[in-house]
């Protein structure tokens, strides 16, 4: 069943008012850089997590001169998903089948998708927060309790930080800070266990994907705690909770001097290694790209498994900066999924791989999308 049947956009970035019928297998968007390919993919991906995959604020997504943006999608399952954001009131309204969604969390993954783009290399060379965000979005989508834990954890964290910054003003700042540590430990343990278990489960697959993408040395990923505890790697949630509570208590004095909480899942790292060395400082550009692609493929496979549905695959010029051999391998991995609906954006018609030649083609020119005929005009 195709996921996306029709997509409309109004007032989104540079896109002209758009109504796009998407065939079951997907389509190709051809357009020079700067004409809106990435914006169109970003608009579709917005319906996945109700925010920009590029990390832009909602207000920046409203087109120049527009008062609001509206996106809508009809899915193969017969669902009608709509979102509107108004610049003046900064209000976002999401409806699914005409019913307003009060908590965005309830509508996460309404149109599940994974975006693959050259920017993904940031996943590997960027700061640990990039990798934590990948985990958070992925795990929040597949488990409501993860999202609750994440929300509670963040709320408790900013409050503990606010409390320890008043250290010195009150004799019992330690006790005041400790009041937030219960929630930090409980919610933090839930986050830790979900992230660790995911990393452990996909670890062999990550290594396999990296090999398939052409890496000769062994690739490994591991979830690493920021708490210097001697917790066994397979400890259960209660043990993690206690360990985290203990670490928070031990670090409390130091945290108060530094004015910030330095242990907990918000400082943890998804560690990537190749041939035993850390990938971030030691890997080559090509190795970084392979790892980033493998992470995106893992994201795709995890979503498919947990949502029991094929996510939409949004490919934003995925072969840019890849040599021919790597491109061929990437293509092979992507093509295993003939059930998947693909939207491929490339700069030139000649960039469309033969394997995607059967997809309908559209051209994007200054934000306007038009269908191309068989001759590619």
């Amino acid at each position: 069943m195709p996921l996306l049947q029709r997509f409309t956009a109004l007032g989104f970035r540079n896109l002209a008012p758009l109504a796009l019928d998407v065939p079951a297998h997907g389509l190709v968007i051809v357009g020079d850089n700067g004409h809106g390919k990435t914006n169109l993919l970003e608009a579709i991906a917005y319906l996945h997590a109700w925010r920009s995959v590029r990390g832009a604020g909602d207000i920046d997504l409203v087109g120049f001169g527009a008062a609001a943006f509206h996106l809508a999608a009809s899915t193969g399952a017969g669902s009608e998903i709509r979102v509107g954001f108004e610049r003046a009131t900064r209000r976002k309204k999401v409806t699914v089948d005409g019913v307003p969604v009060n908590r965005l969390a309830d509508a996460l993954g309404a149109l599940p998708s994974v975006t693959v783009s050259p920017r993904d290399v940031q996943l590997v060379i960027g700061p640990p927060s990039e990798r934590r965000r990948l985990l958070d979005v992925l795990l929040a989508l597949s488990s409501p309790s993860y999202l609750t834990a994440l929300t509670e954890y963040r709320a408790a964290l900013i409050r503990r930080n606010a409390t320890i910054r008043t250290a010195g003003k009150h004799p019992d700042t330690g006790a005041r800070a400790a009041a937030w540590e219960g929630t930090l430990a409980t919610a933090g343990a839930a986050l830790f266990v979900a992230r660790r278990d995911w990393a452990e489960r996909v670890r062999p697959r990550y290594a396999e994907l990296c090999t398939l993408l052409g890496e000769r040395e062994a690739s490994a990923l591991r979830y690493r705690s920021s708490a210097d505890t001697s917790v066994p790697p397979d400890a259960d949630q209660a043990a993690i909770r206690d360990a985290l509570a203990g670490a928070l208590e031990r670090h409390r004095g130091q945290d108060m001097r530094r004015g910030t909480t330095r242990v907990g899942p918000h400082r943890d790292e998804l560690e990537l290694r190749l041939g035993g060395r850390l990938l971030r400082p030691f890997g080559s550009a090509g190795q970084h790209r392979s790892s980033a692609l493998a992470l995106r493929l893992l994201e795709f496979e995890t979503l498919r498994e947990r949502l029991r549905q094929e996510p939409l695959l949004l490919l934003d010029d995925p072969f840019a900066e890849l040599d021919a051999e790597r491109s061929r391998r990437v293509l092979e991995l992507l093509l295993v999924r003939d059930q998947t609906q693909v939207i491929l954006a490339v700069p030139k018609v000649s960039d469309v791989p033969a394997a995607f030649a059967h997809l309908a083609r559209t051209r994007i020119l200054e934000g306007t999308v038009t269908l191309m005929d068989a001759e590619g005009r």
Binding site: P144, S145, T148, A156, R159, A162, R176, A179, T183
Partner: protein, 198 residues
Amino acid sequence: MSAIDDLAGELARLPGIGKKTALRLTYHLLRQPKERGLRLARALEVLAERVHPCPVCHNPTESAECAICSDPRRDTSVICVVEQASDIGAIERSGEFRGVYHVLGGRLSPLDGVQPEDLTIGHLVRRATEPAGVVREVIVATNPSVEGEATAMYVQQKLASCGVRVTRIARGLPVGGDLEYADGVTIAQALNARRDMK
């Protein structure tokens, strides 16, 4: 400033009332018999003049002590700690609790500048420990929000060394509810807090 603007301005400060509603209420009062407006004014005056927090539990009252604290049938060895006086009504409606209350007057909220000394926690600790042995249990019934939990933790810490049993109300599924309609988060918490059937 006219009397109309004056009253509308005062009404608009109330929670949930905007400028338009405030004006509408003001004109409504103008159209009523004079007696009704005066009754409202007297009720407000009495509220402001006579109602004060109960010196024992901080529940608002007109008497020396509130109706609950002065009721000899209430069990003073169990104190239920709530954030707001309005929470007392909710617990009283359950008819299940026979102890007494303690109103904190809010919850810890460092982002809004609410610190422990802005709440009645110090008073609670004195109440629970002086004279020793009178209070057996303190039930912390702050809201199950992040700030409510932290407030509960802080209260627990302050009472930890006093030899008083400190308990926390449970969270889970509503009675008479349908599992099908409960949200996932509540179900997850109810599952985590499951207990053996005896």
